[in-house]
């Protein structure tokens, strides 16, 4: 709206009425009657009365529409029509016509039940519609129509009824005589308006005889533009092809009728016309061969244009395209704020923000115009109050500067601090599209703070993201207030923080709060690099602990009691970390309870800032003190190796023993299971125990906290299991919850004997990744690997469809002002949202934390 003052008053569509087109209406809305199948004359201009007639709009840039005088961009196109020589049946209404023919009298056109019953049924339908809605009415109508069908004698005129059958797709047969569309139409005409509600037809918008076409509307040329190939040849649209067929056959039929050709010929042509009209409407009718191109591929006609994902409705109407958007590879930049996005220069000169010229800002905007469109920060276009858009070029610059006055709009380049929307597909939740402040940076990638990766589910292995620049004040205001990153910290799914520290930030803070003791100087340096400039909270001693450094970031009156990942207590009192280490469960995503508690006490802006500082501090710590994953991290001392060997041996013995007892038939089955099942579960148990024991051995031997262990313990990345797999053994490969049992007859791989039940022949990998896998072990690892790949590949479309259905069903459900939850029919779904009206994104993990409030009040004194 802001771009074009002309459009400040706009119309609102209140409702859309659906109905059938009557022949009269078709004629009225048409601008031309099509009489010839020819498209162009010798010079290549559209023929009058042909399918490309310029009365129906134009597709050539040079021509003008003969109806409205508009050119290519101005004229939307107009309908034409053809008079069909003989009527044909509309394929989409065949079943309705069939029902009508069977339920009405062939003589008088009344429904085959008494007057009283008609009235009663119509009343019933009205009532159902009122009470239960249109859908219930449709069901009722179907039920009633089924009752009326195939009654033998008309109660109104006493005429005997004959059985009418439908020969698919479009032929009606009465008894054994074919009913021509003319006869069908005549019968439909006889049905009275007042009887129509009985069949669910609204006589005001649809008369049954309109379902038999006598006139065919021709869609505007603009709807079926032809493409000019490189060779200069014209290639017509599928619809034009089909319409050509219709007009041609129609003409032939007409000529033959006039010439008085034999019945059979007319009949044949008529049927051909019916075929063409049918395929024009729908080229996928079950009983008809689809109309094809010369190349053999089926034509895309009306129904195919509307239907499915790439059809008009889902692709063009429900899906919109935007200008002022950009897309590029993303890369991390921890030095920018969480709600900033680094925009490359190139993008910033192409993406513009419209700004209206006023007395106050005219000089400021003139600066941009002076810079022009190539020099940043500049401007690309100027829009005059009458809506004319002018590009700022070196030649026009002076002239534009001269005429610029309040009321003009300048489209200036994107500047630091402009609000933009940032998005990564798949956009599965609302945090997939958030508002950031632009920060113009060199190079060509979009930059984002790694702390906001999680809501976008982004990483930097080549991911690309999109950027949109809102163009109106309303859009900018909504983006800033509703979509800003800091408003999205708490997930509406589970009520915890979706933003927080990841990876290095967690390891860094863990390292800092657990081990480090630094000279004050270094501590100040760290904090400064993390962006903190107020260091008054740092105690004035020669040497400060990491805990004290971390505490500088916390608000002075913040008190928090929590547990760390290893179960130890984390205690923060009055903004000082007194006890415990900071790890994933305090500052991580989806679990950061400290973050949640900060958010509750100090609000989004403060929390948001603190997250930024904490995450930066972690990274800075690692920058200074270093962290490397060493190959030797997975080394084990000799005695540990021996221990693991023993464990393996013991497990093997146990399994062999089990197998022995089983083979002797002495294995006592568990209740409700067979002996085989019991054996399997015992073996699995024994082998899993072995791996767990190996894990314990590793843990026992890790006196020194290596980088790998640090990562694991802080929760930054990897689990203990991954380390065990690297240094001790990979363990049992499970396929669908069982040991691997597929492959050859009686065995898994040809390396083993038949009916071998031993661990190694059923997917137990006793080697570690570091040692390297044996060939058979490698196969087993590949089996489970492939299985999980397949699982993901099959799951994605399934869950996508589920999501689509949910979104479609619930899109209009909202909370009303009386706190009820209603849908668009105004039907009440819930009297109070979630039974207590609590908004999950305002709650703490979905609940009101009574315990916290009590504790706070008790400690207050």
């Amino acid at each position: 709206m802001i771009n074009n003052p002309k459009h400040e008053v706009y119309k609102k569509i209140d409702s859309i009425q659906f109905g059938l087109l009557s022949p009269k209406m078709i004629e009225k809305m048409a601008t031309v009657r099509i009489i010839t199948p020819e498209l162009y004359d010798e010079e290549g201009y559209p023929v009058d009365g042909g399918l490309m007639d310029t009365h129906m709009g134009v597709i050539d840039p040079g021509l003008k529409c003969k109806t409205c005088g508009g050119s290519l961009k101005e004229c939307l196109g107009h309908f034409g029509y053809i008079t069909l020589a003989k009527p044909v049946i509309h394929i989409k209404f065949v079943n309705v016509i069939y029902d009508l023919l069977r339920s009405t009298c062939r003589e008088c056109g009344r429904p085959l039940i008494s007057e009283k019953k008609i009235k009663m049924y119509i009343k019933q339908i009205e009532e159902v519609t009122k009470e239960k809605g249109v859908e219930a009415a449709k069901e009722k109508i179907k039920e009633i129509t089924n009752k009326i069908k195939d009654i033998k004698v008309c109660p109104h005129c006493g005429a005997k009824q004959e059985k009418i059958t439908l020969e698919k797709p479009t032929t009606f047969v009465e008894g054994d005589r074919k009913l021509s569309p003319i006869e069908v139409r005549a019968r439909l005409e006889k049905i009275r308006d007042e009887d129509l509600p009985l069949f669910g037809i609204n006589p005001e918008t649809a008369r049954p005889e309109w379902m038999v076409l006598t006139l065919l509307p021709i869609p505007p040329v603009t709807m079926r533009p032809s493409i000019t190939l490189e060779s200069g040849e014209r290639s017509e649209d599928d619809l034009t092809h089909k319409l050509g067929d219709i007009v041609r056959i129609n003409q032939r039929l007409q000529e033959n009728i006039i010439a008085g050709a034999p019945e059979i010929i007319i009949e044949d042509l008529w049927e051909l016309l019916q075929y063409h009209v049918t395929t024009f409407i729908d080229n996928n009718v079950a009983q008809l061969p689809p109309a094809r191109h010369r190349t053999g591929q089926p034509l895309k006609t009306l129904t195919e244009r509307i239907k499915s994902k790439h059809g008009r409705i889902r692709h063009n109407l429900a899906g919109k395209r935007t200008n002022f958007s950009a897309r590029s590879v993303i890369s991390p930049d921890p030095t920018i704020e969480l709600n900033e996005v680094g925009v490359p220069f190139v993008m910033a000169t192409k993406l513009t923000v419209p700004e209206r010229v006023t007395e106050e800002n005219i000089e400021y905007l003139k600066r941009y115009i002076k810079n022009g469109s190539k020099k940043y920060p500049g401007a690309n276009y100027v829009i005059r109050p009458d809506g004319k858009k002018r590009r700022i070029t070196d030649e026009l610059k002076e002239e534009i500067l001269e005429e610029l006055e309040p009321g003009y709009i300048v489209e200036r380049h994107l500047l630091d601090g402009d609000i933009v929307l940032f998005n990564r597909q798949p956009s599965l939740h609302k945090m997939s599209m958030m508002a950031h402040y632009a920060k113009i940076l060199p190079y060509k990638t979009l930059r984002l703070n790694p702390a906001v990766c999680h809501p976008y589910n982004a990483d930097f292995d080549g991911d690309e993201m999109n950027l949109h620049v809102p163009q109106t004040e309303e859009a900018r205001a909504e983006a800033e207030i509703l979509m800003n990153v800091n408003t999205q910290i708490i997930s509406p799914r589970y009520g915890l923080s979706v933003m927080g520290c990841i990876q290095d930030s967690i390891s860094g803070n863990y390292l800092l709060t657990k081990y480090l003791k630094l000279p004050r100087k270094e501590a100040v340096q760290l904090l400064y690099e993390a962006g903190v400039d107020d260091i008054s909270k740092l105690p004035n001693k020669k040497e400060v602990t990491g805990k004290e450094i971390f505490s500088v970031l916390l608000p002075d009156d913040f008190t928090y009691i929590g547990t760390a990942k290893d179960g130890s207590r984390v205690f923060i009192e009055n903004g000082k970390l007194k006890e415990g280490t900071i790890d994933k469960s305090a500052i991580g995503v989806e679990s950061g309870l400290m973050l949640r508690s900060l958010h509750k006490r100090y609000g989004k802006e403060r929390t948001f800032k603190i997250i930024g500082y904490i995450s930066k501090l972690g990274i800075v710590v690692l920058l200074h003190y270093g962290m490397t994953n060493l190959l030797s991290d997975s080394d084990l001392p000799e005695e540990a190796k021996k221990e693991i060997k023993d464990i393996l041996k013991k497990a093997e013995e146990r399994v062999n023993e089990l197998i022995k007892t089983f083979k002797e038939g002495k294995l006592k089955p568990l209740p409700g299971r067979t002996a085989e099942d019991t054996l399997e579960s015992y073996i699995m148990e024994a082998l899993n125990k072995a791996r767990n024991e190996a894990g314990e051995v590793i843990e026992k031997n890790s006196k020194e906290e290596t980088s790998t262990l640090l990562m694991i313990r802080s929760g930054a990345r990897a689990k203990m299991l991954n380390l065990v797999q690297m240094s001790a053994m990979v363990g049992q490969q499970a396929l669908r919850g069982k040991r691997i049992n597929y492959g050859y007859f009686g065995r898994t791989l040809s390396h083993f004997k038949k009916n071998d039940l031993s661990p190694e022949s059923h997917g137990f990998i006793s080697s570690s990744f570091k040692q390297g896998l044996k060939p058979t072990e490698f196969f087993f690892a590949a089996i489970t690997g492939r299985d999980s790949l397949m699982d993901t590949a099959l799951r994605t479309p399934k869950s996508g469809y589920l999501y689509r259905r949910l979104a479609n069903a619930l899109q209009d459900v909202r909370v009303e002002y009386d706190n009820t939850v209603r849908d668009s029919n105004n039907r009440i779904i819930q009297f109070e949202y979630g039974e207590d009206g609590i908004d999950v994104s305002k709650s703490e993990g979905g609940v009101l934390n009574v315990k916290r409030i009590i504790e706070e009040h008790l400690t207050k004194v």
Binding site: K12, L428, K430, Y803, R805, V815, I829, K851
Partner: protein, 428 residues
């Protein structure tokens, strides 16, 4: 006044759960003043947590369930390692529930027992009493005697004793199961003949097949039973459900017994129970998969599915069909069908939900698009800021305004535009 009484005073303002939380967590020794302070703080926070009107909770719910869908496993999980007792979980189960499928892949029940059975008394017997037993399970063999045109059934005495049946019981149930036959007994062999004699072998053969499936004892449809001890109590898990018959048994604790077949729950216990069943079942799957989804989202879906008084799936035959808007239905599935039907009925799309408005480029009526602005427009005044004006004055103003406008038109184009726009804005 005790703390309890003080809290009870707020029972109108706070939901039951929070009140219970308060009662549970308040320390025993506490002054009345403190209690009041705390409760008031709770009320304040509760009010702050309330959902904002116009919030599009539907979309949030869809996102909250749809987004973790990508993280769920596809595998059905075998329960207790027995192939007869596996249960569908993960994504397939969620899809099954939301589809509103009438026959689910793995129907099962959790049957709680009354004391003393819940303590393990006769647990095996109780379990067998529940299991559906067919004739083929207690018979050793079925023969067809061509000479007599009869079917001979040799019973398995051991099996019969285990279940606690006599031969007469079996004969009775055969007579009950199939009409028009005669059963004779001779040391553990039952001879079944048709009352009307026949020499058609096919008939006898089909009789034999029918006999195999004759229901002898137990509860119908309960295919498999497994007693387990859970939280110090014996319960019976079954494969196959029959809620109605099981609940009628005297040793079953019918208040806690559940079935995972939502339609059966609806039929037996009503729509509210079905809603609860949907919530429980979906929540259980989410928990099993380690996904953190708030129960409010699941409640909303369950409520939407049950809003019409019967369980409807989230499909084009279920709740999506109920949508008032033609375009909303068309944008989901089968657009042609929807449009054709709408044109016959002369349906009017009032454009009061989301997609339709997206289609016609208008603001959607959820969130910030929902509230409207009501402005009192006083005729003849541009601003309408002061109360009523007498008609004469307003008329005079009108004409004056017209004149001003005319003049303006003459002077500059832009200024007229401004005046016009400000006028239209006020009207809006």
């Amino acid at each position: 006044m005790t703390a309890e009484q003080i809290i009870k005073e707020y029972s109108k303002e706070l939901p039951e759960k929070i009140i219970n939380d308060l009662l549970e967590n308040l320390p025993k020794k506490i002054s009345d003043k403190k209690v009041k302070e705390i409760v008031e703080e709770v009320v304040k926070e509760y009010k702050e947590m309330q959902i904002t009107p116009a919030e599009s909770v539907g979309i949030i719910t869809a996102e909250s369930i749809g987004e973790p869908g990508t993280q769920m496993t596809l595998n059905t999980f075998h329960f207790a390692g027995v192939s007869e007792m596996n249960v569908t979980t993960g994504l397939p189960r969620i899809i099954e529930i939301f589809d509103g499928r009438k026959d689910i892949a793995t129907p099962m029940m959790n049957i709680y027992l009354k004391k003393p059975y819940s303590e393990g008394k006769d647990i095996e017997k109780v379990a067998l009493r529940l299991k559906e037993t067919l004739l083929e399970e207690i018979a050793q063999e079925f023969y067809i005697n061509i000479a007599d045109m009869s079917v001979e059934i040799q019973l398995n005495k051991e099996q019969l004793d285990k279940i606690g049946l006599t031969n007469q019981d079996v004969i009775n149930s055969i007579n009950k199961g199939i009409k028009g036959i005669k059963v004779k007994e001779k040391d553990n062999t039952l001879t079944v003949t048709k009352k009307q004699e026949t020499d058609n072998l096919n008939e006898i053969y089909s009789l034999k097949e029918k006999l195999k499936k004759v229901f002898v004892t137990g509860v119908k449809h309960i295919k498999y039973v497994l007693p387990v001890k859970r939280e110090g109590e014996y319960i019976i898990l079954t494969s196959g459900t029959n809620l109605k018959d099981v609940m009628e048994l005297d040793f079953v604790d019918s208040t806690r017994t559940t079935s995972n077949d939502i339609f059966e729950v609806e039929k037996v216990l009503g729509i509210e129970a079905a809603r609860e069943a949907i919530i429980q079942e979906v929540y259980k799957v989410m928990q099993e998969q380690g996904l953190n989804v708030n129960i409010r989202h699941i409640m909303l879906v369950a409520d939407a599915m049950c809003a019409m008084g019967k369980v409807q799936g989230i499909t084009r035959y279920g709740i999506i069909r109920e949508k008032a808007s033609v375009l909303a239905r068309a944008s989901f599935e089968t657009p042609m069908k929807q449009i054709m039907q709408a044109s016959l009925m002369g349906e009017v799309d009032k454009l009061n939900s989301v997609v339709e408005n997206v289609m016609v480029n208008q603001p959607v009526p959820v969130g910030t698009g929902l509230p409207g602005l009501a402005v009192k427009v006083i005729k003849g005044r541009i601003g309408g800021y002061e109360g009523e004006k007498d008609e004469k004055k307003s008329k005079a103003e009108k004409t004056a305004k017209k004149e001003i406008k005319k003049e303006e038109k003459k002077t500059t184009k832009t200024k007229t535009k401004k005046a016009k726009s400000s006028k239209s804005k006020n009207k809006e």
